[in-house]
Symmetry: C2
Subunit: 234 residues, 2 copies
Amino acid sequence: MTQKPAACPPERKRGSGVQYVYDVLRGEILDLTLAPGSPIDEIMLSERLSMSRTPIREALVRLASEGLVTALPNRSTVVSSIDLLNLHNFFDALTLMYRVTTRLAAENREAADLSALEHWHREYAKAAEARDAPGMIATNREFHAAIATAGRNPYYEALCHRLLDEGRRLLRLYYYTFEDGVPARYVQEHADMIAAIESRDVPRADALAQAHADQIVTQIQTMIARDRRQHITL
Amino acid sequence: MTQKPAACPPERKRGSGVQYVYDVLRGEILDLTLAPGSPIDEIMLSERLSMSRTPIREALVRLASEGLVTALPNRSTVVSSIDLLNLHNFFDALTLMYRVTTRLAAENREAADLSALEHWHREYAKAAEARDAPGMIATNREFHAAIATAGRNPYYEALCHRLLDEGRRLLRLYYYTFEDGVPARYVQEHADMIAAIESRDVPRADALAQAHADQIVTQIQTMIARDRRQHITL
DNA sequence: TGTATTTTTATTGTCGACATGATTTTCGGA
DNA sequence: TCCGAAAATCATGTCGACAATAAAAATACA
């Protein structure tokens, strides 16, 4: 078990402990640094982050209620597994969420929202140019989260975050095996979505979101199909 | 502050503490026994439920991540307020959720799902006959939760639960002021929805869900309008 | 040698206590 | 009498320790 000793600032403000543990764990889970199914040892974590088990347990409770970890009673908490057999549920929800949030963004966007969208669009384009797959995954998440924010509906926003997090894990899973990367076409699609949102064109925003979701679904399904084929040939 | 001393079984199994506190608090929040905005004192709670503060804090973290309470740093946690100014967000999400889950239920329902639906339909009818408004609110929640379960999509199911919980608080808020109750028409609408789900008639399930949601939205809006009028005449 | 049972170990769930920061109260001055 | 500062009070955030339970290891037996 090689792990960086402790990249933790020994100076911690009171009250920031749980948030810190939550951020660290969530990042590692979404990055697949912590593999799905792997157990989370509270004592190891408390040593690594040099803090007591109490804030760590509270962060784990929070992660559990968001579905990122699963708490087994009287046994160790494990990172939630990725359910590859029921991906259609994920695709279905993701498509609807993309459509609804993009529609609402076209209706309710304000000036600040457009700035945020353009910022993450630029970051995404930068990552795409550098062929930085993890960077593209992360900035893609922020781009769509910004769309949800512009939609101004906290219920859809929460669903959006949950789906985007799950999507981050899913994409990460396949970028470990396939390095050919995300088609640059996504950059143009994002630009089109921004334009539709800016001009308050709700039907066009809806159509673009639907098409964008279809693209991603197709891409992931292709990756899975290739992955399956490899396994079969073994 | 009059509160029942402690309706807690002194015999508690190890590991059930957090769940117990969570259930108690969630019930009281949704019943409005704990008023929105009221602070939650960890020490009082620990005395009332005769347990340490640790499991209580973990239950509060879970409730906070579901939006039922709001944690103020270094200050007391408070029951989340009901945002009456942005109800359209709730109505919008509720309508879409009803439609999606009912559609999916018509597609994916199995025999056991129909039994559950009919069970809660009967319970709801009983409560309606007895003019038991709290009972109707609670059984209505379970009825729609059962529809979401039959739809077999955990993402929509989670959204459904969140919206139904919020709806329970909202309805409860108005049933404290108006006692004329829920129209009996809802019983028939529920029966129609079951029939559509049973016969796998997706378009009809969608239409019924939409109509049902419109009914509830109209009802709540009427209540709010009446409530406003009363306040103005003071 | 393989299996059932007991012992050991390790990790979780819970507890009481302390420190830190916020709130309230008290006290002094105008 | 009213306002501001200092002190006291109080609730939270964090900690280390203990008890209970499940997994692992060791032992006994066929």
